[in-house]
Symmetry: C2
Subunit: 292 residues, 2 copies
Amino acid sequence: MFKTYWNEKLQLVEAELAQIIPQKSALSSTLCEAMNYSLMAGGKRLRPVLLIAAADAVGGEGDSFVKSACAIEMIHTYSLIHDDLPAMDNDDYRRGKLTNHKVYGDGMAVLAGDALLTMAFEVLCSQKNVNAENRLRVVREMSFSAGPNGMVGGQAIDLLSENKRIDMKTLKQMHEAKTGALFCAAIRSGAILANATDREVDALTIYAEKFGLAFQITDDILDVIGSAEKIGKPVGSDERNHKSTYVTLTSLAEAKKMAAEAVEDALHSLDIFGSQADFLRSIVQYLESRDK
Amino acid sequence: MFKTYWNEKLQLVEAELAQIIPQKSALSSTLCEAMNYSLMAGGKRLRPVLLIAAADAVGGEGDSFVKSACAIEMIHTYSLIHDDLPAMDNDDYRRGKLTNHKVYGDGMAVLAGDALLTMAFEVLCSQKNVNAENRLRVVREMSFSAGPNGMVGGQAIDLLSENKRIDMKTLKQMHEAKTGALFCAAIRSGAILANATDREVDALTIYAEKFGLAFQITDDILDVIGSAEKIGKPVGSDERNHKSTYVTLTSLAEAKKMAAEAVEDALHSLDIFGSQADFLRSIVQYLESRDK
């Protein structure tokens, strides 16, 4: 049931994403091609699926908010394009495909990222079945979470920490901002779009924070115990790159314990919800067992 | 009266901009410093002043929309930071100061631009004295105008036209997107925030288009007849760089005629407004006479 739900939502999101970037009337077809290249490069579509699932959890019709779900995937995709630039992580491959700037050049990759971020807000405005008040709340959620107090702030910490050992406090702060904030925006936005009560939004906010933590710790664990083929990078690369992670700063056993606690806390935060939140329960448990 | 109005609005905008970027509670003080470095680098503040003036023109209280005015300046500033990057125009100086990436490095400059763009939408949401419907319309105006169908689309055309002669049609299309669209968003947003009628918004849209055209043509003329000191770059640099402009594609005399016509059309579009639109009348006439 868990995999079926995910697959169903993933297909819904893929179909919507596939026709979201203007093609024919476009000013620059190269720009649109570059945007689509990264937007349609696959992936788990975790953030849009979480947005839809959060709406379902509070009794809304999650599928009807697919446009907002796509908007958050556009923001996530832009951040990957800019993160891969030579000026940042300088990565040549992502998910086995050449990175955006390797195909379109650095300048066009900067613009493709800029365009995806900007257009995400236009797409949010087009979520017609929601009143203006709630749509505006979602614009605020996403702009706050993706901005200097959220994702970009986390990327700045990351950039400035390159080749430096950082402590556990900084590591947590960096991940909460760089990855956690956008998970939080996805989940809170889904709830807001579905007219959740404040109590429901609060509960889901805790869920989102614990989800983000579990996601990052298990990501660090996978770097040590995963299969290179499945995770798409050599095993143990964090250690070799002197990267501070939940595993390098504690131990594999301690990291596993922390992940289990985060999953436990996330599940507990969902106590006020009935079976409509089952997907959210399954997906945070899946994080612990995943192999990629 | 014209200069007094401009100065007054400029000071209002400067004061608001000066306290818009989070400082103390910030995740990364370097990121905030980089954002502020470019945001507070001066300039004519044309876009925010136009937003306020458009609100005044339709009988609103322009000053009360200063937050939205700042948001559009943040979008403009981000576009300059990314435009100056080595991957794009590779400029070392802007307005006599080192460009963002020359001070903070390429990676941080990418992030500072990203953060300013993202935060602009958060600032738009904070425009409390306007109903959600109109605030959302402004989010749409700005995201559409700054995205792949507007500013970023124009920058893509520009990037792909480097060292190429382009024709008049492409030149117009590029400028309408790269510069015109954001002028249009500023002016339309000011009108929308002040509850303008559709007829008023339509008239101001024509004004904005003609304003953008007059701005660009006079910019190209200044490159030929301006003083190097005042315009901040060597006279005649467009010609030497084989850049297609309104002057190089026609002649100085023809460009002057086109500019005069655009100003005339802009003035005509304001016929339905009374003296409240006098600043808009003066500022488009000023374009023709400016020396920087």
